[in-house]
Symmetry: C3
Subunit: 373 residues, 3 copies
Amino acid sequence: MNNIHQFQQPDNLIVSSGYADQNTPLVRNCWYVAGRSEEVSRELMHRRILGVDVAMYRTLAGAPVAVRNRCPHRSFPLAKGKLDGDVLVCGYHGMQFDSSGRCVNMPSMPLVPSNANVRSFPIVERAPLLWIWMGDPDLADEELVPDTHWLSSDEFKSVTGNFYMKSDYVAMHENLLDQTHFPFLHPGTVGTPAYARSKLDVREEGMEVVIDRALRNSPPPGIYGVPAGIMHKSVDRLSEARFVSPAMHVAFARIVDHQPDAGAPTQYRFNITHIITPETNNTIHYWWFNSRDFKHDDVEVDAFMIKASEQAYLEDVDALEWISEVVQKDADPQFDLNFAPDKPGLLMRRNLHRLAAAEAEKAYSQNTVSGEI
Amino acid sequence: MNNIHQFQQPDNLIVSSGYADQNTPLVRNCWYVAGRSEEVSRELMHRRILGVDVAMYRTLAGAPVAVRNRCPHRSFPLAKGKLDGDVLVCGYHGMQFDSSGRCVNMPSMPLVPSNANVRSFPIVERAPLLWIWMGDPDLADEELVPDTHWLSSDEFKSVTGNFYMKSDYVAMHENLLDQTHFPFLHPGTVGTPAYARSKLDVREEGMEVVIDRALRNSPPPGIYGVPAGIMHKSVDRLSEARFVSPAMHVAFARIVDHQPDAGAPTQYRFNITHIITPETNNTIHYWWFNSRDFKHDDVEVDAFMIKASEQAYLEDVDALEWISEVVQKDADPQFDLNFAPDKPGLLMRRNLHRLAAAEAEKAYSQNTVSGEI
Amino acid sequence: MNNIHQFQQPDNLIVSSGYADQNTPLVRNCWYVAGRSEEVSRELMHRRILGVDVAMYRTLAGAPVAVRNRCPHRSFPLAKGKLDGDVLVCGYHGMQFDSSGRCVNMPSMPLVPSNANVRSFPIVERAPLLWIWMGDPDLADEELVPDTHWLSSDEFKSVTGNFYMKSDYVAMHENLLDQTHFPFLHPGTVGTPAYARSKLDVREEGMEVVIDRALRNSPPPGIYGVPAGIMHKSVDRLSEARFVSPAMHVAFARIVDHQPDAGAPTQYRFNITHIITPETNNTIHYWWFNSRDFKHDDVEVDAFMIKASEQAYLEDVDALEWISEVVQKDADPQFDLNFAPDKPGLLMRRNLHRLAAAEAEKAYSQNTVSGEI
């Protein structure tokens, strides 16, 4: 239109001032959970991670394998092919790849073509999780896989569940670092009013953001008090919430009962593990684990923990999906206001932005066809 | 692609020559109907208007309130929250807004944050309609609310209905100003062949476009003749169609029976009110009202008027949605031909274009970050 | 985003190096099948071809007519109108067009407007097919309609079917010129392992690409051997696959039985006709015909040929749709690898690219408003 100028507010003020949001490029050099151990088997499966579809299976020896779900020849999705021993066979022309992604046979060719490989992704198992590295493989240091030892330790009993979310991982991490929403979004589960007003201690450990919080001599929330059988008591609630990486948030909660009943413990521990794997900038594969250090074999407690967790997390999922829809559909952009209690989330968003910016800078400097872009 | 140039015809000739079309920015400084009075209550509701989602409710005293359906803190849709008296409480962090949109409490903060308001929209009630102003609030003069007194007058009995249309409001207004389509699109209701050929008188009153038409001594169309019980007669049909504003079109029809039966009136009046609220450039909230000055308490006439109106308007809705689909899907653009009878629509489109261009010009001149756009 | 540069690999290397892919502009100066003869009747129908919706009908004398499905006045889809003799009447304002697209009446106008025509497309019948020319009408030479005489010859009995495919015509043509996928994608029908390894002879005839292949003294594939009743024999299989034009691929197969049973033929011929009409760059109207020169009246053979063909072609359709989804959804582009057996497809893609580039060049040079583009 020549003589009608559509006024557009610039939508990059926050981004350019250094805080990640839903439009920030996803951080690639990071271990993300590709799935639970039991999801990957001798049946070919696939899952989109950071925008790239990944085919996964296990070798006969049980090792997990992850390759791009796209044949390098004619882009056929390899998960629609089949396994022949440890070899993945494309369903279109029968091209064969070993578990490193190397082509070991192309039936229409007399010799195996050199350099005809499918991209494979570093994948390591820390049961019950499989971690994948979608970024520069030279940086895929297994030492960087986040600690989740409580998920496989005898000390804890875990229950788990998952959601496919139409939201962005920045808003999800911010939600997890934000406990002022508990009494409003989760009044029936984790959100006691007193907790919302208890003092925060926020600190950074490298790229990690940690919140410590102590609430003394107060009734426990139902999600902890009911399984422990201490709803009638006043207890101390000590919690640490931690942004571990773009892929994970953990919360460690201790409920301390200074006057335990006979035979009852003085302390109940709950480790909550939030696994966040971006499918795209606007969708997330989300798994949660709720681990406790008591009543390991009590199936009624298991059922209660699952039900209460699903209820609380569904409230978050719903809220974040509604927000995502608002942000994407609204004709007018909005610069969200920030308040003092948003500090943990803003630290995380600044760190995410630094990681994304560093990756983008590196990719840009390595780009040899920059004149064409 | 380097060496293949895709030929694109320019699609802005008509627009740049001064006639609004489906791509023209929506006119914002105008009263639009946000809903019928009975739609807005103590239950929070929301509706997207001119691309912006609006949350609506009534205060305890019954006054309508309209605010942006997006919390200024973290973009949560406020209509998913709750009312506490006259205060709207966000469902995420419990942020509270009074009916002017002013934040009156943020639970996680010791003091009420200043300037933490949600945008409120001027909204006025002219029963059975609620009118909203989405543009510059300084220009929201209640005197500019269009006259619809017949919808609440004892002189008239009204029936009503509504459609959600996948079309643009320019095409809708053009359809309403165009009576040459009656015999082809509406052969069974309003479109008598003689009427299509009757002479038009077109004039402008400011931005309004008015068509007067008189058809003498001719059988009435069914939609008027049946309820009046004069289908067997030859009557005069006098009608005025008026583009009142981007939000409304009205048609006033008089059927004059010069030889009335004993006890029957000599004149039957029909006021047709078309309420057009763009949801986006390509979708419309459309309400119609058909008001008559006779047989106020005849429920059979009510039922007939509803049925005949819905049939006729559905024909328009279908046609406009088909056209919108054609325009949006077609690989090749088309510059529609204009004929002499299109004059009323073209006057309206020129006026709509002037309004949109003036708003865009003003927004542009006020834009202080123009270098970035 | 100011300080985050998203790295994008250029996606035009193959295109700019001269091979058509899914993004290459569709070739317009070519006869495409608009439909089967029996689809076009006195009932108005429409079909989108090369991105343009086309309304079709037959005159009272039976001649097929194809015009743009968009009234030149207000873009109403003409196929929603009606026929009045040979005249197509728009359903909105009653504008009338003869079978050449010329306006012969506009009811609201005293005189027929000059130059108020709808674009008509050259369309010719070669039963059972109707061929349309969407490009420059001056180039629409009927001599260029591809030969399909076997579809209407007494020498052959044909069965047919069709698919609506979410794929691009380049990948479809490449699939048809590629026989190395037979044993992998079609193990149960046309893909005997020996055939995949038989030698190809590839040649070009103008823009056409031809593959000859001979497999001697080998069991026939089920799709040929079962209807011929020679599954227990070793026979010669001689086949020609031909990229005829952007609109058609044909395969001529001969099965030679050097030791026929008493009364049985020594040769069985199968002509497979693949009709490919792009709806858009990513969708195809696809018709197939399978013609045989024996057992013309055997309905069981008809049923077998339909079932086996549908099975084999559905495997191709599925594969191509999966690939199209991979290509469109993948966050990272991929440059497909090419191997020696891909030569026929690459020749075809080079020819398609030449045709597209020549049309784009011509359109560009004729563009008189280039300054505005």
